[in-house]
Symmetry: C2
Subunit: 325 residues, 2 copies
């Protein structure tokens, strides 16, 4: 039996957006998604067999209370699925703001799913680990792989890495952080409200598969402009569906708009760059390698941009070490 | 025959939004609308019988070239509808930025329709003047009246004043100007692109009548909160439909978001205030009388807000003088 291990997993950003659940209990997505892994946004998790009677969970240096916590709920759920999982200790740390729309749940639950599988000897294959991570967070299913990753809405709920020659995709993601506070409405609640009350939700789901096809085609053909167009479209359609909910949910702030307006201007000026926004006010600016330096410099000077995190495309999660008695 | 006259008409802001055309040639709206007149945003127009062979048109102190101009096109169209209209001189001045999403076409074409009807002795009744103004701009049909005004999507295309005791509605509109430049995409073109390419356009039109009913009920019952809720909902649904067009149209800038976020905070804090945004980056903040002073002070200090225009509810257009030889 493994006694302890150390895992690192990257967050990811969806270019074609997942928004809405087809099955609440199984956390199955109503829309597919295509993402890229971000090597600058990491969760580092150390897991150990527990000594006392209960789990112990530390997140970003603070002990997490039991009961209502998402991490605790996840572990309890895994315990109902696989017998013989004793108390565990989890020490998880994010390299970036938590709960602010920077996909900390993606890297966090990916690391946790990989860790508990190894630590407790469950013996799942990667696709099953992806499905397990999904129970914690829909986007975590993608973070068990690196590079470009997709989830199909009509598949088995596991993410699939997209096999592509990454030398054709020298992308850098500039993460414009416009607010480090936790977002106003959490994704799960916001998805529910969108599905229940937005007049645009049904169309959002129905017209989504065309964007999936377009993204897969663009990636296969190394068509930067095609990927940019479908990514912006998917982002705007998602936020439009969200803000039409009752009452409206508005994730954007002045800094968000400053970045969006700037990137639209850069695109008109011929720079190979586009943006995407998850549930939250931060903007991810995806740049072709040649345009990174100038975009980074100008992004940092925009009013409302607190800092810019420069990220390459991340690889697979890594188990740095594991220790067996 | 009248030789010259001087008209003043107010712009208006729609609380339930008109967006999309049911009939392009007749400029009939696909959605109804409910507006309030703004006494601080005025067009002053002087019209005279022309001396030379052609019309002469001056807008904001500059001579307008013939041919492509909207005002010239409108006059030419009126000439095809009613015989015997000779050359006219139009000198029109707005008290506020033109073409920036502050409804200058509403007050402008309302004044023009009223003026040409009088000057040329066409003899139209008010409802017909409203329909005539509509051919210049959909929102101009409402500016031929004061106070609360409605247009039904299934009516005859004329606006109708809403008969309401205005003492129950001590409203002030604070117009937060965040950019004085002309907007990036004109309303007519943006409506067309939304109707042609937005996946949400059909739902926007279909779910609109419920908002009209809710607005009429709120106004009749002097229900400020009800009017605020339906106004915000209609605004967000409209902008959502627009930004989901292909390519997306984004009218908002950092100042727009600063105002929206601030007003959302004020509402949570119990202030009787709401916002609406037309096609453009400006935000109209509608306040109950008791909350005007503090909102005005705080609005003016928001980053991205260039100036705040305070407006009461406007009355009917006025013909200040007319001169007959």
């Amino acid at each position: 039996m493994i006694d302890a291990l150390h895992i690192e997993a990257n967050a990811n950003v969806a270019l074609v957006k997942y928004w809405g659940k087809a099955d609440e209990a199984a956390n199955l997505p109503a829309t597919g998604s295509v993402s890229i892994s971000l090597d600058a946004l990491k969760t580092t998790t150390i897991m150990k067999q527990g000594a006392g009677p209960n789990d112990e969970i530390w997140l970003n240096g603070e002990s997490v209370g039991t009961g209502v916590d998402r991490i605790q709920s996840f572990i309890d759920r895994v315990r109902t699925m696989y017998v013989g999982i004793g108390p565990v200790h989890v020490i998880s740390t994010n390299s970036f703001p938590t709960g602010a729309g920077l996909a900390s749940s993606a890297s966090g639950f990916a690391a946790l799913a990989i860790g508990i599988n190894r630590l407790c000897g469950i013996g799942l294959e990667p696709a099953d680990v992806s499905r397990l991570a999904r129970l914690g967070s829909g986007s975590a299913a993608r973070s068990v792989y690196g590079g470009f990753v997709a989830i199909s809405a009509d598949g088995d709920g596991a993410a699939v890495p997209i096999d592509v020659d990454m030398t054709h995709w020298p992308l850098t993601v500039l993460i414009a952080v416009t607010d480090t506070a936790a977002k106003s409405v959490g994704s799960t609640q916001a998805m529910q409200r969108t599905a229940d009350t937005s007049p645009y939700y049904a169309e959002w789901v129905q017209q989504h598969p065309a964007d999936m096809i377009e993204a897969h085609r663009s990636i296969a053909e190394a068509d930067f402009d095609g990927l940019a167009t479908v990514s912006i479209r998917s982002c705007m359609k998602m936020h439009a569906a969200i803000m039409a909910a009752r009452p409206p949910i508005i994730y954007w702030n002045p800094g968000t708009m400053a970045v969006v307006n700037a990137v639209e201007g850069w695109r008109e000026a011929g720079r190979r760059v586009f943006y995407t926004i998850d549930a939250g006010p931060q903007v991810k600016v995806i740049c072709h390698q040649d345009d990174v330096a100038v975009c980074n410099r100008e992004l940092a000077q925009l009013p409302g941009v607190r800092n810019v995190i420069e990220s390459g495309i991340g690889g697979e999660p890594r188990v740095h070490w594991s220790y067996s008695r």
